[in-house]
Symmetry: C2
Subunit: 136 residues, 2 copies
């Protein structure tokens, strides 16, 4: 008999309720980041009678289930996006707001190495660059 440890396979069954599904599809439509307030307004505009509380709750569940990622805008407002989106970072002009999407495999590798070095698991990262673009 092998003494190999059995890998734990996480079989958490993830069930999404109606609100969560609506949010996911709205986020798909957005294709990037959106705040809770923005998502709420989009749904209302579409005639949906969803409540703000429900939007926040559903987003929290989606976060727990790792279906969405969260980030903070400069003013502190939380913005969400689907995890599935290709992971990239942003170079933002702090004057005019122009944004360039950056893919940075080197940073990903760096983050991974650091995490291992310190025995951290499930490490995500936030990497954002802020400066002045050539026009500003």
């Amino acid at each position: 008999m092998s003494t190999a440890t059995t890998k734990r396979i996480t079989t958490t069954k993830i069930t999404m309720n109606k609100s969560q599904l609506k949010l996911v599809s709205t986020l798909e439509r957005v294709g990037g980041f959106a705040s809770a307030q923005e998502l709420y307004q989009m749904l209302r505009r579409d005639g949906d009678g969803i409540g703000l509380t429900t939007v926040y709750r559903a987003l929290q569940s989606l976060l727990d289930d790792k279906i969405v990622d969260v980030l903070r805008r400069a003013d502190g407002e939380a913005i969400y996006r689907l995890c599935g989106e290709a992971h990239h970072h942003h170079l933002v002009c702090r004057s005019c707001g122009a944004t360039v999407e950056i893919e940075g495999s080197s940073v990903e590798k760096w983050a991974e190495a650091i995490s291992e070095e310190h025995h951290f698991r499930e490490v995500g990262h936030t990497v954002e660059l802020f400066g002045l673009c050539s026009n500003c």
Copy 2:
């Protein structure tokens, strides 16, 4: 006579008022990040009659003068630190809050390269890692 363009030397005289000085010295004492609310409470504990409004205003001025940096905690609260502090990043346990300070010259170089590539100037960056530490 030379036709060389004259380099503009920015001689903005930076004068700090009393409140700004107090905040700088408090931040020195802290040696890292602190929120406006925390700084306010520290000063009050020390018997200073400073008002919260003044703390926010002074921090804003220090930001404008590039004397302090700002970052966001996970809950969206803004935290400030002196720019002079050795620049480093953080690896934070999202469960117990344990924090490891990381220095990452490779990320600095990467950020610089990206900035140049897109002709951005005065680029600062935010790099934070969040995960689960070995105890959690």
